[in-house]
Symmetry: C2
Subunit: 699 residues, 2 copies
């Protein structure tokens, strides 16, 4: 057979497999794949799913039944009828239970007997609970868990589990690496894009119940009547899936679109304007969630422009929303152009305001005190504002971790921060105990696979699952996602979850090891640029953060330095004040150390640092090898994309490693130890690289 | 049955139909749908397609076989084997015939006998011809034409049939309304997006054989080595489908990336730089097509910056490309900030250069002398440069015809210009006889349906079909596209083609009737703004074009005015010099007329103008009604999107009509005749509308 005929034969085989492009494995279905379960498990599940029993309810209850039908129909390979009364043995019931112990969103899954027939009952005190219960049941089938006997109860750990979309009104997504904004503003309000429903389903399936549609760097136009009409259509599409819409509000909107001379939060006309605007919003969107506000931060307007405090500003908006049950998410991500250590400023501005925020204000705090770096210690505000509701804000979109191309599963990072002990307000407190809201900066866009890469879907999934249950293990979530997304074969699951669990550590190693941070290129944040020292503000420059010189490297944040450490609880202060008791992952975050300092390994800091970079690159090489072992077990399309992206990641990991090593050599004036590979190019080569067309830049 | 149960039942039915989102009718497949033919036709075709017989050949020949296999396999509902030697009665043969009468790209389809067996033979003198022949055969099956007896020969009417992508390197598409650029620059060269292959297939299916990847408002970065490597990957993906890559070259690249002090085309160092750059490109891309250049136009650099002519500039690039067989497309879209009528300037600058361009230079001329308006007379350069190769440039993306949302089939517009009599160089000449290249500004992007709307796919299709055969009828192409895209049912085809054929006329009526032009909003070109008079250059203002006042409306381009008419051949001059013999579609393009002037209809110009606007709106209403009759005949997803977009179109048609009428009332100081509906809002309302977030804006 000629090579030509052979190639065609392969194509024929592909054809017989039914693979047209339209049904290709392009990732559109996310983790909601619902492909038929293998035998004999399929028959076992079938015995427990002869019918779906649903009685009339809200559109949310209808979504639960519809999704069960869609999911079970796919998983079991045959339609499952929806009926109003059981008539077979082994039905699945969706049942509201008024006096429920599941709270406003929880659910129970129980095996039992109904009208003398065996049944699996999804019960809840709310239609929303039924929806989450339906997805939980489907997830059990997708991950091949038993449905019998079943007796479990779930309720969410935090009340508000929300995505923050940094989407501009021209559909550009700031820090977006997955195409354009999902919101088709030019065709709204008339066009109801069916994709929005799939977005809503994906969120509901992991318990996300709120979404902020527009960028925190906000434009007041979204609060004008024409745009509220557009938002209304989206809200109407999201509501049946239990998702409430919030908007990022520009603090100066009363001036920009209201025609007022001021946006002073204590000005009666301004207060009236916001009350009227709030009323207008609730007429259009009765379950409108409220406002997210970035104020007096990176050029955004805010109450301090008028000599007022963050509390004054937030409380004014809260007052306007309160009659309708709306909430204000007020971001604590602020830093002024002052001489003080930037990482201290959020705490310094907000901690003194504890107790001064209205009951429907939530202060939204990033996981770390800097800005979504590959690794940071937790933000000292967690635990330090017991009289204030706090939201934990994490970033799903990987602004600082290789955009969408690098494989970096963020579950371990979020678990790390949620499990961090704050020692405040109680001795046993952890970050997870101090927050009532989880907010994730979304990584979704118009890309066919939603997130720009198949593996970034895991971060969307993990965010939802952790927000639902902040005590979850990232490894367990990875296992679940892998089974739902790639299949249940044990060897495959083991390989993929191992890749995932090592991936974020790899990024830390090849980008910012040992507690380093903020070493990326200016503006676009693509690639390494630790040499940058010429930006307008000192605390925008990488050199501000690493402080590398002949004497050593690292930022002294102990009492002998900026004393940012002083913002943490005393047990943390004591532990991190000493180099010897500071965990290595945070070493150079808190200490400035000599290159020759001996590490626990016995190697010098210089050697250790070099070793981390190499370990990072090696981890990526190992991920590539692991992936290659799956070639025959993964559909061709997804296999190829992941393989190609891992190749890009290896290239870029080497670039990070080489540029960083060259920079530290230059700073330290040190030769490389024997056996350490020299960078591929001189430092000047890396310094000259420019990326004007990098995606996701702020505008 | 409750409404709830009913709704679910409908969903079950949907499920039984096998409609998951992944196989949804989302338009991704374009006109290459290959769904099974209905019986008994399917069996009849099957008798003629027992095998595909292909012998080894280039990768283009392989594409022909692969596509036949994919297409016939789908259409006939069962795989068709590819073999090297016939062994059944009724095979399809792909056969190279060295001494062919089909030219370098043509093909023949013939029923005949091979080795004593009945066969359908696709023969050609080139592998590219085989590819086009394969698509032609598939098209016959898709449109239910007979395969027997078959005896036809086709060869393209122009040698270069190319798309021009106005894609920036950050993936923003200037005048793009279908998402981002298809080229995933950040992940190139390592990532070979399979979508590029489907883009190539779509182009090949209609005979498009070249593509310019980047915006004519060009950035020199694309000519740097890192970017040439990216372009190379795309060229490698496109080549098997007979598509050559061109690049838009920035004239000042020798300065910007070459480090030279000048880009003077007569400077030896500059000439050397371009020769070296050309050599470098051909090492990476052996079949590189050449350069497209927008020079000394709208701020782009060009040879006139150095006191040289367009010919000097073009010939320098031509000289660099000539050793490799490359070509230069040099755009004639130029207009200086002079006092003269803007539509005269392209002719004035280029016609005197006739005969001075190198043999591998093609001057690329827009269909009309202004700028892709809903209707313009043909460009006077056609026929006026007999010593120069000319390209006809049309715009698939509907910058001035409602973006992607309005249904406007452009086949009739292009047919209109191609069939326009130039009377030059010969008495019988038409535009189609004066061009050797067809260039279309692409309307494709990352949107799932490629073009932003289902109906805009027709413009991509029609462009390719007309470029292949410039004498085609737009109606026949609409018929073909409709059958391939929506199905062959006669009633459906009649309804859809009727909508299509009336659609462009509707846009002309509600936007720019009776020869008006350039009345759109500034910058974004969204919506009406005939009142705009404050832009920096006179000829950027709508008032410059319509010249409406109390005395009348229209631009006198006869000898008593700008005499742009003088640039046409004498028979046209004579006909258009008189109002009475000027066709109404061009009336106000060439004449300034009193509001009370009697038209052929007996109505005054004022009444006639108002009538055209209303006719335009009514046409859209009629299209909506027509579409509604198809509800049960079209899949739900595509039906709903078209219906929603038509609703948007009606809204926007009314807006165009009302704002324009209000403006002309204001200009003419005339009351509306009895029975004419007053605009919904006062003129000031329309004047205050702002669209800062309109898509596709130039950056």
């Amino acid at each position: 057979m000629t090579r030509f005929a052979l190639a065609l034969l392969i194509l024929v085989t592909g054809f017989l497999g039914g693979e047209g492009r339209a049904s290709a494995e392009d990732g559109y279905r996310l983790w909601l794949r619902y492909d038929p379960v293998e035998q004999p498990a399929r028959d076992q599940y079938r015995r427990l799913a002869c019918q779906i029993v649903a009685t009339s309810g809200s559109e949310i209850a209808r979504s639960a039944a519809v999704e069960l039908q869609r999911g079970l129909g796919g998983l079991l390979g045959a339609p499952v009828p929806v009926v109003e009364r059981t008539s077979c043995d082994g039905a699945i019931l969706l049942r509201r239970e008024p006096a429920s112990d599941t709270g406003p969103e929880g659910y129970k899954l129980r095996s039992g007997t109904v009208d003398g027939r065996r049944a699996t009952v999804i019960s809840a005190g709310s239609d929303r609970g039924l929806l989450y219960g339906a997805f939980a049941l489907l997830r059990r089938v997708q991950t091949r868990q038993s449905l019998e006997p079943l007796n479990l109860r779930e309720r969410p750990g935090v009340a508000l589990r929300m995505l923050n979309h940094w989407d501009n009104l021209d559909r550009h997504v700031e820090r977006g690496y997955a195409g354009q904004s999902l919101w088709d503003w030019p065709r709204l309000p008339l066009w109801r894009d069916p994709r929005i429903v799939d977005y809503a389903r994906a969120n509901a399936s992991v318990g996300i119940n709120a979404t902020v549609l527009n960028n925190v760097n906000s434009n007041a136009t979204i609060l004008t009547p024409d745009w509220i009409a557009k938002v209304r259509t989206l809200a109407d599409q999201l509501r049946p899936w239990g998702i409430r819409v919030f908007l990022s509000a520009r603090f100066s909107a009363p001036v920009e679109i209201g025609g007022l001379p001021t946006a002073d939060p204590l000005d009666p006309a301004v207060r009236r304007w916001w009350r009227n605007k709030s009323d207008e919003l609730y007429v259009a969107i009765p379950d409108f969630g409220g406002f997210l506000v970035k104020a007096n931060s990176e050029g955004q307007p805010g109450p301090q422009d008028y000599g007022r405090s963050h509390a004054d500003g937030a409380n004014m908006l809260a007052e306007a929303l309160a009659p309708h049950g709306g909430q204000v998410l007020w971001r604590a991500f602020v830093y002024a152009p002052s001489a003080d250590d930037r990482v201290k400023q959020g705490y310094a501005e907000f901690q003194p305001l504890d107790g001064r925020f209205a009951a429907n204000v939530i202060v939204q705090v990033k996981n770390g005190p800097l800005d979504f770096q590959p690794r940071e210690p937790f933000h000292p505000l967690f635990g330090a504002m017991p009289g204030t509701q706090l939201a934990l804000e994490v970033q799903l979109t990987k602004e600082y971790l290789g955009f969408a191309t690098h494989l970096a599963y963020l579950g371990p990072m979020w678990e790390e921060v949620l499990q961090s002990r704050t020692y405040r307000p109680r001795q046993g407190s952890r970050v997870r105990d101090t927050v009532t809201v989880m907010a994730g900066v979304a990584n979704s866009g118009t890309d066919r696979n939603w997130t720009g890469s198949h593996f970034d879907q895991a971060n969307w999934f993990a965010f939802g699952r952790l927000a639902w249950k902040p005590d979850s293990s990232a490894a367990a979530i990875a296992d679940e996602w892998t089974k739902m997304t790639w299949g249940n074969e044990p060897g495959k699951v083991a390989t993929i979850t191992r890749m995932m669990m090592q991936s974020r550590g790899a990024v830390v190693d090849y980008m910012t090891p040992l507690g380093l941070a903020h070493l990326m290129g200016s503006g676009h944040h693509h690639g390494p640029a630790p040499w940058v020292a010429d930006l307008e503000r000192a605390d925008w420059n990488p050199v501000y953060y690493h402080r590398a010189g002949r004497d050593g490297i690292g930022f002294d944040r102990t009492a002998s330095g900026s004393n940012a450490l002083g913002q943490y609880a005393p047990p943390i202060q004591r532990r991190f004040a000493q180099v010897s008791t500071t965990p290595e992952p945070y070493l150079l975050w808190f200490h400035h150390l000599a290159w020759d300092r001996r590490m626990r390994s016995g190697r010098t800091l210089w050697e250790e640092l070099l070793g981390r970079y190499d370990r990072g690159v090696e981890s990526v090489i190992a991920m590539r090898s692991s992936w290659a072992t799956l070639r025959s077990e993964i559909d061709e399309e997804r296999y190829a994309q992941v393989a190609a992206f891992l190749a890009v990641q290896e290239d870029e990991a080497r670039w990070w490693r080489d540029a960083s090593v060259a920079n530290w050599q230059d700073a330290s004036r040190r030769p490389l130890p024997r056996g350490v590979r020299a960078p591929a190019h001189p430092l000047s080569y890396y310094q000259k690289l420019r990326f004007p067309f990098a995606p996701g830049q702020a505008r």
